[in-house]
Symmetry: C2
Subunit: 228 residues, 2 copies
DNA sequence: CCATAGTAAAAAATCGATTTTTTACATCAT
DNA sequence: ATGATGTAAAAAATCGATTTTTTACTATGG
């Protein structure tokens, strides 16, 4: 039995989730045009749920929808990554400050648990996809009690955008190690409710991730059109 | 010839625009369930474009999509309005500070023009819909050169959410007059590049609008289900 | 009399086919 | 030879019908 989340119509929602994952994981080339027929076969689904999923993704910003020319994977633009990272820094900074004020005992417990799972995932080399899950959950949990559902929504959206770049970028073990250390320090500062220090560290954390993600932007590439 | 914006497929996009307008204008009761068949007749369209438009609106946050039970207009919740207004204040504050640094001569010219059109619209009583247009354009133009496409996107989204409340709220001519005065003051402070004062005024402007919009929330209402 | 199971009507979601629009190609005129 | 125009193939968008799921009602048993 699958542990599906099952919001709204199943096929369209499953498809939305699957496509979103594949887009963020970089399983489609940036700038690539998505042929409806090809997707229909790839995911073994009918037209209606497919089109509904694509429309949702376009509204979310993970796809571009052109005049009468279907859907396209957005190109990876350095300027846009910088925008996304800058905004992430500012919004997560806001959210963290509030989260440290609002978060209670249960949150502290959950944060320690999330960090523990992340650390274990760090130490397990093969399971990259599992690490990604734990990493996302850790950052989510950190900001969760900030009190603003809309702020969290935007942060999640930016995170998804950012990850598309980061996962396309070549691995950088040096920075990766530093980022991992920061997770632990973030927990300590959060527990100590040291707002300025925690905030500064989180912003530095995002700056460092940004450096890694930049590797995804070969701005000198001459407009890749198709793939396959 | 209509001046349609024509993004993506026509019927679905026209429909998206029409539904979005009707939702923000409050032409559907908050909490109301949207029957697909009824909408099909109301807008004289087929199923596919309708469902695509509804899916986009749900992804945007102007509709809720329930398990296998179709689409619903979100209820007007006081707590959510407060969240939206708070975040608007903070995000527009950020954007304004940057816009005042980045905006050039053309921007100043456009701002004066937008303000002039807004003032004219203020003085014309009957054309409420026209005033709404000019008001939106004024605020858009004010923040436009802030340099962050994603920040502007989120601000627009919050503005749409906020307006749904504001337009449902009963008119308040006293506050309305004060808000109108603030528009002129905003222009002056923007031209003077007085970042702290302009920012403080914009935040106060949003706080005041928030007061008006709160009139839309009768939290004691006993869960309205259907209308028509 | 209330609760539960079964059934029929209604609504939403999905499918395959049709229509419209775009793109690629070939023909003709300059 | 080059550019424009018309035509055919391909792709996307839309439609109406079918299938699935939900909801409301009824009958039956406790």
């Amino acid at each position: 039995m699958e542990a599906e989340v099952a919001t709204a119509n199943m096929t369209a929602s499953q498809l939305y989730a699957a496509l979103k994952r594949d887009l963020i994981d970089g399983r489609f080339a940036a700038g690539q045009k998505l042929a409806i027929t090809a997707l229909r076969q790839r995911y073994r689904v009918g037209l209606s749920p497919l089109r509904e999923a694509l429309n949702r993704l376009a509204a979310y910003g993970l796809l571009e929808q052109e005049n009468q020319r279907g859907f396209r994977v957005p190109a990876l633009k350095r300027a846009e990554l910088d925008d996304i990272a800058d905004l992430r820094r500012r919004l997560e900074g806001l959210a963290l400050a509030q989260a440290l004020q609002e978060g209670g005992d249960e949150w502290e417990a959950g944060l320690l648990a999330a960090f523990h799972r992340l650390k274990r995932a760090d130490e397990t080399p093969g399971k990259l996809e599992h690490w990604e899950q734990m990493h996302l959950q850790f950052h989510r949990h950190l900001l969760e009690p900030c009190g603003s559902a809309w702020l969290l929504r935007f942060i999640e959206q930016l995170h998804d955008q950012f990850d598309r770049y980061r996962r396309m970028a070549p691995a950088n073990d040096t920075i990766r190690a530093r980022l991992n250390v920061q997770h632990g320090q973030l927990v300590d500062l959060a527990m100590a409710r040291d707002v300025p220090a925690a905030r500064a560290l989180l912003e530095e954390h995002i700056r460092l991730s940004h450096e890694v993600a930049r590797g995804a932007c070969q701005e000198d590439r001459t407009s890749v059109e198709e793939r396959d």
